[in-house]
């Protein structure tokens, strides 16, 4: 356990996640003037970008040792990593919910939900594409949502662009929890086992 904690730098990871969440609470309401906004199609907030960092840092911590080494370990290290991701997501959710109850405005809920969405995406992508590519693909998701996620006609976000919805949207929150659960199960079970995809091999 000590070895795993040290290798994943769990304390640093948890500390950075908390810092990122607090920074998101402080600056999350800042608007980024994306070109897609100038039709009245919506506001892209910084709270859609900063929650990428906990997911990316988790991928960094867990990916530093190559997959080939760790797949031969006696203990299922990958499952511990999945548990770590889920724990981070729960911690951020608890932090933001408590913050919101204590008086922070709706942006706290947005930051919490977006962190869960990105961790869920990272959990889904990591067995498929490897840590490096999953990190880059996860960080492209906010830009993709910003460019393609607004419904034409300016009436809100597409259903699949979870990070664009307002913080108090219950369907988006439920969808994000579902995504996290699905990602955790997928990453836990790893139906492809140690068979690596082309992308995972090329970028390991």
């Amino acid at each position: 356990m000590n070895w795993w904690l040290k290798s994943r730098a769990v304390l640093t990871l948890a500390g950075c996640t908390v810092l990122m969440t607090l920074a998101g609470l402080a600056f999350g309401s800042t608007e980024l003037p994306l070109p897609a906004l100038t039709g009245g199609s919506g506001r892209f907030l910084l709270a859609g970008l900063t929650p990428v960092l906990p997911a990316v840092l988790w991928l960094n911590s867990t990916g530093r040792v190559g997959p080939h080494t760790e797949s031969t370990a006696v203990r299922a290290v990958a499952r511990w990593d999945t548990a770590l991701a889920t724990g981070l997501a729960t911690a951020v959710l608890a932090l933001t919910l408590v913050g919101h109850l204590l008086g922070a405005d709706v942006i706290a809920l947005t930051v919490g939900r977006n962190t869960i969405v990105f961790i869920g995406i990272a959990l889904v992508l990591e067995p498929l594409a490897g840590h490096r590519s999953a990190a880059v693909l996860t960080s492209v998701v906010p830009l993709f949502c910003a460019a393609a996620g607004w419904r034409s006609g300016g009436v809100g976000a597409e259903p699949w662009a979870l990070i664009l919805h307002p913080g108090n949207s219950v369907p988006a929150f439920a969808a994000s929890l579902t995504l996290l659960a699905a990602g955790a199960v997928f990453s836990f079970v790893r139906p492809f086992g140690t068979r690596a995809s082309w992308l995972r091999e090329a970028t390991a």
């Binding site: 070109p35 990316v56 990916g63 490096r132 880059v136 830009l143």
Partner: protein, 420 residues
């Protein structure tokens, strides 16, 4: 390194189709929505919407390359080539990928504008290329500094924020440092201000020089020197940036106006709007109708800003419809805001301006005023006036027109002698 090895192993080769597809499928809607038809500088200006995304892609790719070189321990093994000679060939495909993204968006915007990008405005592309080079070099440094897997995503996010975010600040000058406001160029009567091209050039050159120094010699002294270089670049960029407002455009030279003097009134428009003669012909038709109704038309209608006596301001931001021409003619015929109103703030006749504009437009178009532009009271008033005999309409017009030229005369919002 062999060229084919370089291209085969570079992350830019993978990113290029992703970036191009991103631009073509997701951003082309935004690129083509606000172009000014037929005006070359507008193609260059609208193409700059993609700068933030191309900068993010360049930073991410460069960070990926930097992290790869760090992982391979290349610089720790006493290489024969210096750090710059190792880094620059690897970063060149990344920068070229960013330029390819810019070229794609320029192509899309040019097709939508229907005009080739104006050669006088290609400096904007040069400034954007330098901004991309600065992002590439800084991304490479990020890749060498940050932990390997986190480097590219962090560089992507930070690169995107640094190029997209300054436009939203309440202060004007940061956006000009990163060429963030270029997409405001240009409507037909404006061109880009050269200061808006020099500011990001100076800043990007400062950042590039600092990054090159740090790549070559990563020591504390170089860090201090790099800060100084960035400070010098910013200091060189600040005077032009502060001299601009929120908008990087400036008025177009009046010498480019094309004046049609073959009929009355003379009409001077920008070549993109007036050269096919249609707008001029319609203006003259409407002017003839207004003169037949008894109104006085100025002798010359011009886009120029310095008006000589007998001229009135008349022009369009893009190719006009009939209704636009009629409305512009109406505002050219009516007097402007009097000086006393600007000074004292009272303008009693102001409520008459909207009905008067609508009436003149209706006479020119020979159609009742369209819905939606007027308040219900004004619309009803204009309808009543239009039903009166010609002399009464003209008297109503003249009375209100005179009131609009003063500050203390009240408007005449009822039809004289009628049941208004």
């Amino acid at each position: 390194m062999l060229l084919r090895t370089l291209l085969r192993s570079s992350s830019a080769t993978l990113m290029l189709p992703l970036l191009v597809c991103f631009i073509v499928f997701l951003l082309s809607d935004t690129l083509t929505r606000y172009v000014t038809e037929g005006y070359g500088p507008s193609a260059v200006g609208q193409a700059s919407f993609v700068l933030a995304f191309a900068a993010a892609a360049c930073a991410a790719s460069a960070a990926w390359e930097g992290a790869r070189l760090k992982r391979g321990g290349v610089l720790d093994q006493a290489p024969a080539r210096g750090p710059l000679a190792i880094a620059l060939p690897v970063l060149a495909p990344v920068w070229l990928m960013g330029l390819a993204g810019l070229a794609t968006s320029l192509l899309i915007a040019s097709i939508a504008t229907g005009a080739p990008p104006a050669p006088s405005h290609l400096g904007m592309l040069g400034a954007q290329g330098l901004v991309l080079a600065a992002c590439t070099l800084s991304g490479y440094l990020t890749g060498r500094l940050l932990p390997g897997i986190a480097a590219a995503p962090i560089a992507l996010t930070v690169g995107f924020c640094l190029t997209a975010f300054p436009v939203s600040l309440p202060v004007a000058w940061p956006r000009h440092l990163v060429a963030g406001a270029f997409s405001e160029c240009c409507s037909v009567g404006t061109v880009i201000d050269p200061k808006a091209v020099w500011a990001p050039t100076a800043f990007a050159v400062g950042v590039c020089a600092a990054a090159l120094l740090l790549i070559r010699r990563p020591a504390f002294r170089s860090l201090v020197a790099a800060f100084l270089l960035v400070a010098v670049g910013t200091a060189a960029a600040l005077p032009p940036a502060l001299g601009l407002g929120f908008s990087p455009v400036t008025a177009r030279d009046d010498g480019e106006l094309v004046c049609d003097t073959r009929g009355r009134p003379h009409v001077c428009l920008w070549p993109e709007i007036g050269s096919d003669g249609q707008a001029v012909a319609q203006t003259r038709t409407f002017a003839a109708r207004l003169e037949a109704a008894g109104l006085q038309i100025p002798a010359t209608l011009t886009e120029s800003r310095d008006l000589k006596p007998g001229e009135a301001r008349f022009g369009f931001k893009s190719r006009p419809q009939s209704a636009d021409i009629a409305m512009n003619l109406a505002s050219a015929v009516l007097p402007g805001m009097p000086e006393c109103a600007r000074r004292t703030g009272t303008f009693r006749a102001y409520p008459a301006r909207a009905p008067l504009m609508a009436w003149v437009t209706s006479v020119a178009l020979q159609a009742p005023p369209g819905p939606g532009r007027l308040s219900p009271d004004d619309a009803a008033l204009v309808q009543r006036v239009l039903q009166e005999p010609r002399e009464k309409q003209l008297a109503w017009y003249e009375a209100n027109r005179q009131a609009l030229a003063t500050c203390d005369q009240p408007p005449q919002l009822t039809v004289p002698g009628g049941a208004g």
